[in-house]
Symmetry: C2
Subunit: 697 residues, 2 copies
């Protein structure tokens, strides 16, 4: 029996009444704010199928979700875009704690940027409960928010030993999340990690999944992660908790991109075999292969010791060194034990091939091979290499060593995801325009901004005061600059009696390049301006770029004010300041320290300040903060070069340049005068693995 | 002409239409959600009077405010209670930026705990704009929120040189605010502080104004602060910015209470004369008299140098030493200069009488006197003392030295405030009850809590599991304890599938003493509990007390979880933990570190932990955080005695006991084992004026 439904209520009723073998068609249309609940009972041979009248013609938008419960339901071909779930989950395999889904299937669906506008809102696109469910041939594009794309939960026996299959999906894009919570897949959770999950993650294609250090985070036992392709992902497949997982026949393609990772191992009993690692350039936790040290008496969510692992018959081509004893420190003191590392093949190997931070024989490296052209190394046989090409990918091979390529699937984009969906749609690009604006037209600037297109340029045509009465809002990439050949800079001032949070606020989707303009924070007896340029305090899930060139920021009279401020819950991809001046500021000149929750989040991936003068600043000149012990992210990165610091933050315990938790920092060729007299010129608070350079200061 | 009005609209219209000499009566009743705007034009001899039909019978409640504009309006006898302003100000002397009040008067009004439920919400009870306005004979009781009770603003010339009078008011109570923003009066603001205000603050009575280090904060010039009484106030009259202020004939009564302060001086040209300081025990910024050091090239909101000050004919009786050069550090390097300190009288003086941290002769101490019974001191003449008693207050006198008592008003409670209002109403007290509750009645505990009265006791009658399905909410002072003579502790667990934020949450108005109960964070496969006991994440403006005795907290499995957690925007007066155990916690055992904004706020005034064992905690055992450079508050105070720390926070850079910005700390008689191996056992980050003791650890 076939039936076509056109509302969530009809759908619910139709599925409830359906008998095995029925198909419920969703009417072709936009389903807005669709709270879909499907609960029914098919059979293995006669499932109930829920499908659009025409694949690709049911588009689910707005505040929508899908809850599935019952047996043998197949949900196929739904397309989620332009919205987000009003709840914690988008597609969830249970209706409530009592009614789970078993033997259900989600296939050929597409979730395309269905993101909550708040980046730190925990939302999951797919959550598996129950047993024997399958998620296959779906396409997941650019999840921007916290929490994984897909989770399998196993809180009690109804969902443990579940035998789910996650296969042939296309995980396309996950931008650097800038905090823990940027995983693509999580299976289980530490509290229940000692029980087996037996989930299959096979034949999937992961592309640019750069959310954090864990692309796939396994937190349960006896899962099988095999035959997947990881394409240029800044992270790894991580066996984080749980026992006896199998990682076999996966293909990691790094293309020499920095930070591309492989497999990381924690806990006992795992097997990593027949995987191919091509041109991976990650180090430490992102090494092509890393084996962690454990913690004595570890709590369930910390690090159990690695014992009885087998790492055999893998192929590493042109990779950075492997890391044995990763994360070793005063807490993680238990070295891996009884780990056999053999029959692996290294081609164009790094020197050393691996680094063992314990060197106590816990990792038994024996009978591995290296290509003949390499310098010979102890414990490695030199062997002859031949190349095999499959699906356009070239993989070296050698007899008896390295991966058995028959166990690989060489999954490409074309073999994963919903085939009906074209993920490479082009957006027509406007020709960029340039508009000049006079000081007397200051009130029209916002209107002009609203009318312009991404990439357009607005030019302040005159010097003198541009008298704003509201802060400007930027929500697309724009250039704002002074006209060339002016004698003085145009000066933004507030000519209203209100306090204005910033002259310019960058909102979601915005980016800004700004040149040769001054931002005067206090003007006559008008209201204060709290910052020159800031990112929004509203919801944001996209990263922004800000380039400030030849600008001046002065007269900010309260200690909460700043020249430039990266607001909480926003992340700049890059914050570039050059040839600029900050003076007479009671707060912080460049404030990238609003992520105070010590959860490892931060305000800018790259902060780059060059040729800039800071003078008479009561707070810090530069404050970048990333608090807590989290080890998920790459950044923040900070570069300060050719800057001058004069009369900055002389208060007790004050710091001129404060870089807390910055992971890569370089401060070079800079002058510090009459600054930091009550505290420090530069404060680092860093971990031993951070990279810090101070030179010529 | 007299008219009676009964709504805000009628009032507005009546005042608009009134002619000089008219009286507008407010109908006797509760005026709820009353947005009152009065704008009219009286004359000096014939003002327009706005007054209740019967004084004391108009009660303004709910979301209410009063805006005043025009000339010669007298507003009299209003009573604000049980509500708060929906805007930033409650009573404001302007309708908008164009329409100010001049020559208007607010008299005999009462504002009794008219507080926003959110403590950090900036709200002002009285804001003066314009000129020649008078605020007199009003009573202001217990402002609990951020920002002063009364402000005079002087943003432009219409409000500068204003000649306002703030006189005969009764400022009754301002609890320790636990952050900057707890002032009682502020005159001006740093940005406009170099202009004269000429406000009179005279004949007022300040009682227990303990909000912060500044009771009265003068941030403008040429004000007159005279003949006021300060009764047991933990703070001072502070000449913070501005030039040439006069402090004359004030009476400070400390009654030997700790932290009671006097006058603090910054900026040039002030005169402090004929004041009497009785039994003040404050030190540093709260000294009976302190003269600050200045900052070179100071920004407008930092510290200008003190020069050309006159401090003469003051009387100090049984006080702590005065401080000259207060706040001297690497930044505040400019000593006071050309300050004459003479003809002052000291009775029962401290030794030394004063401490000069610069000792460069900038403060010229000459021709002062000391009582005959004292040891003679250089620069002090010994003189004969007689006692004068006025209004029940005994003040010593000597010829030619000390205060001229005729210049004092000896203001008492009876001479200030709205006479018609009795501020000492008693609340009838219930007889306290004790109720026993069985494990099988766990679901009824919340209902029972709701029915009990302040001070009642609830006893868990059995050992074994008390299975909660919601966290308990405490919004009054209660005792919860295990029955005596049980073999084991009763154990709270979560038996719902939801995650619960805490077993017990203390809300506004609540306090808790809890004894001999266990809090198990994870139970079977039910939902997690994020904390054993916490303060609310909802609005709170009253401080709470929590005493935990003989309790156990264990099995909290996520790193964001805690045994006990003081939430952001709440302040414990005291947090006492004794004879207790914390084990198996992935987060922080005792978390008083949620005020992360570096504005000088903190979560508990006193944290006292004794005879308590911490074992196997992944985060810190104790984390108390107060960030930033603010110098407004007394606390936090931390005492840790006879505690054991075993296997605590061994992570890289981790700290077992983390006390950042704690102002008084003592850690004694405690054991640290296998703890802090990647970082530190104890981390202090303190200022040079903090008091720290670590002993027998
Ligand atoms: Ca993670
Ligand atoms: Ca203050």
């Amino acid at each position: 029996k076939n039936i076509t439904v056109s509302s969530p209520a009809e759908l619910k009723q139709a599925v409830q009444k359906a008998i095995p073998g029925d198909t419920v068609f969703l009417e072709n249309k936009e389903w807005k704010d669709a709270k879909l609940v499907v609960e029914g009972k098919g059979t293995a041979t006669k499932p109930i199928v829920i499908v659009p009248r025409s694949i690709g013609k049911v588009i689910i938008t707005g505040q929508s979700y899908l809850k599935i419960a019952g047996e043998y339901l197949v949900i196929k071909g739904l397309h989620f875009k332009d919205g987000y779930t009003p709840e914690k989950d988008l597609i969830v395999f249970r209706v409530n704690n009592d009614r789970l889904a078993n033997n259900c299937r989600l296939t050929e669906c597409v979730i395309d940027e269905f993101n909550n506008p708040e980046r730190f809102r925990n939302e999951n696109w797919i959550v598996l409960w129950g047993k024997n469910n399958r998620v296959d041939h779906n396409t997941f594009i650019n999840k921007l928010t916290a929490s994984p794309v897909l989770i399998a939960e196993l809180n009690d026996e109804r969902s443990q030993d579940n035998n789910h299959s996650v296969d042939h999906n296309y995980f396309k894009g996950r931008q650097r999340f800038g905090s823990n919570g940027g995983e693509t897949i999580r299976i289980g959770v530490s509290r229940y990690s000692l029980t087996p999950s037996r989930t299959q993650i096979v034949d999937n294609y992961f592309e640019h999944c750069n959310g954090e250090v864990e692309i796939v985070s396994i937190k349960s036992g006896e899962n099988n992660i095999s035959r997947n392709t990881f394409f240029e992902c800044e992270g790894g497949l991580v066996l984080r908790h749980g026992l006896g997982n199998v990682v076999n026949g996966n293909l990691f393609i790094g293309n020499n991109k920095p930070f591309t990772g492989g497999v990381r191992i924690v806990n006992p009993g795992h097997r990593v075999t027949n995987n191919v690692f091509l041109e991976l350039k990650g180090t430490a936790f992102r090494s092509p292969l890393s084996i962690m040290n454990g913690v004595p008496n570890s709590l369930i969510n910390r690090y159990y010791q690695v014992v009885d692992a087998k790492i055999e018959n893998n192929t590493f081509v042109n990779c950075t060194p492997l890391t044995f004893g990763a994360g070793k420190d005063a807490e993680r003191t238990l070295s891996p034990q009884r780990v056999t590392f053999q029959k692996n093949l290294f081609v164009n190997a790094s020197d050393p091939v691996y680094q063992d931070d314990n060197n106590d024989g816990g990792v038994i490296v024996s009978n591995n091979a290296i290509d003949k052209s390499a310098v010979s190394r102890e414990g490695f046989t030199q062997v002859k290499i031949t190349n095999t090409v499959k699906n356009g990918i070239t993989v070296p091979q050698a007899k008896n060593y390295g991966a058995d390529l028959k166990q690989l699937a060489f999954i490409t984009v074309n073999q994963a995801g919903a085939k009906w969906y074209n993920t490479n749609q082009q957006i027509a690009k406007n020709k960029n325009t340039t508009t000049y604006i006079k000081a007397s037209d200051t009130k029209k600037i916002q209107e002009l901004i609203n009318k312009t297109h991404a990439g357009d340029t607005i030019i302040l045509a005159e010097d003198g005061f541009y008298k704003l009465e509201e802060g400007l809002i930027i929500n697309k990439p724009l250039v704002i600059m002074a006209a060339k050949h002016l004698n003085k800079k145009p000066v933004f001032v507030n000519a209203s009696f209100k306090t204005i949070p910033a002259f310019i606020t960058i909102e979601n989707g915005g980016s800004l390049e700004i040149k040769n303009i001054a931002f005067q924070g206090a003007f006559e007896s008008y209201g204060n301006v709290q910052a020159g340029i800031r990112s929004t305090d509203k919801a944001m899930n996209r990263h922004y770029n800000l380039t400030v060139d030849g600008c001046e920021f002065y007269d900010y009279n309260e200690s909460s004010f700043a020249g430039i401020k990266a607001s909480k819950n926003t992340l700049a991809d890059s914050l570039v300041i050059k040839n600029s001046l900050f003076r007479n500021i009671s707060g912080t000149a460049v404030n990238v320290a609003e992520e105070k929750d010590d959860r490892g989040a931060y305000g800018a991936e790259y902060t780059i300040i060059t040729n800039t003068v800071f003078t008479n600043v009561m707070g810090s000149a530069v404050n970048v903060y990333r608090g807590g012990n989290d080890e998920s992210t790459l950044g923040p990165f900070v570069t300060i070069d050719h800057c001058t610091f004069n009369e900055i933050e002389n208060r007790e315990q004050g710091t001129v340049v404060r870089l807390v938790g910055v992971q890569y920092a370089a401060i070079t060729n800079s002058n510090f005068a009459y600054s930091g007299q009550g505290g420090r010129a530069i404060e680092f608070r860093e971990f031993r693995w951070d990279e810090i350079l101070v030179d010529y200061c």
